[in-house]
């Protein structure tokens, strides 16, 4: 498995990471910076992490997925720092013998990352910045 916190996501790398002779299916999700939140223009996103714990949580999630769906390879890679509109911020993916397993696993990887991994996103607008999900 490839578990990393990086400054820049290289989306071209993920196919090489997941490609595998035993895998007939490779499924990848890329999360990117969207321009609008509730009709307000986002200038950039700023990501911060508690790196040692984030890596540990991502390893646990990847291990759960490998066991549940019999995956051959898994990638979980998240960027930190300032990211502009359209830039990729997260990539997760899985390879498996058949496609059903990697589709389901890929969804689990990103959904569980968002729930549990200690990474925080600040939305920067022209007139304010907001830590996402901090307040009810």
């Amino acid at each position: 498995m490839y578990i990393e916190i990086v400054d820049e996501i290289d989306t071209a790398q993920v196919y090489k990471d997941l490609s595998d002779a035993g895998s007939g299916g490779i499924c990848v999700f890329v999360g990117a910076v969207r321009e609008f939140t509730n009709n307000e223009a986002v200038v950039s996103l700023e990501f911060e992490t508690y790196k040692s714990m984030a890596l540990k949580e991502m390893e646990k999630i990847a291990a759960e997925a490998i066991e549940k769906w019999q995956l051959n390879k898994v990638v979980m890679r998240h960027a930190v720092g300032l990211k502009k509109v359209e830039e990729p911020v997260v990539v997760v993916g899985a390879s498996s013998a058949h496609r059903d397993a990697c589709f389901e696993a890929c969804r689990f990887l990103i959904d569980t990352l968002k729930e549990r991994v200690p990474i925080w996103k600040k939305e920067v607008f022209s007139n304010k910045s907001v830590w996402v999900s901090a307040h009810p």
Partner: protein, 80 residues
């Protein structure tokens, strides 16, 4: 007792590492630590929630704290 702060928790206290006061005594559990933080910094009470990690693992409120532990405040996460 030192705690690491991230995201909005860092903004609330204004630093990335906070020294929890030893008087009257150090908090002995996660619950006591959360109570101290909310008392000293009422803005913690306005968050959707916040968790505590002990030695890089999410810790439930009854987990004991020791001075040698790495303790971190985990406000609502928002990766992805």
């Amino acid at each position: 007792m030192k705690v690491l702060l991230f995201g909005i928790a860092k903004d609330i206290i204004g630093t990335s590492e906070f020294e929890v006061p030893s008087e009257p005594k150090y908090p002995s559990t996660v619950l006591e630590l959360k109570d101290v933080l909310v008392r000293l910094f009422p803005d913690f009470g306005k968050l959707s929630s916040f968790a505590v990690a002990v030695n890089n693992e999410y810790a439930s409120e009854d987990v004991s704290l020791h001075l040698s532990d790495e303790i971190a405040i985990i406000p609502p996460v928002s990766g992805g």
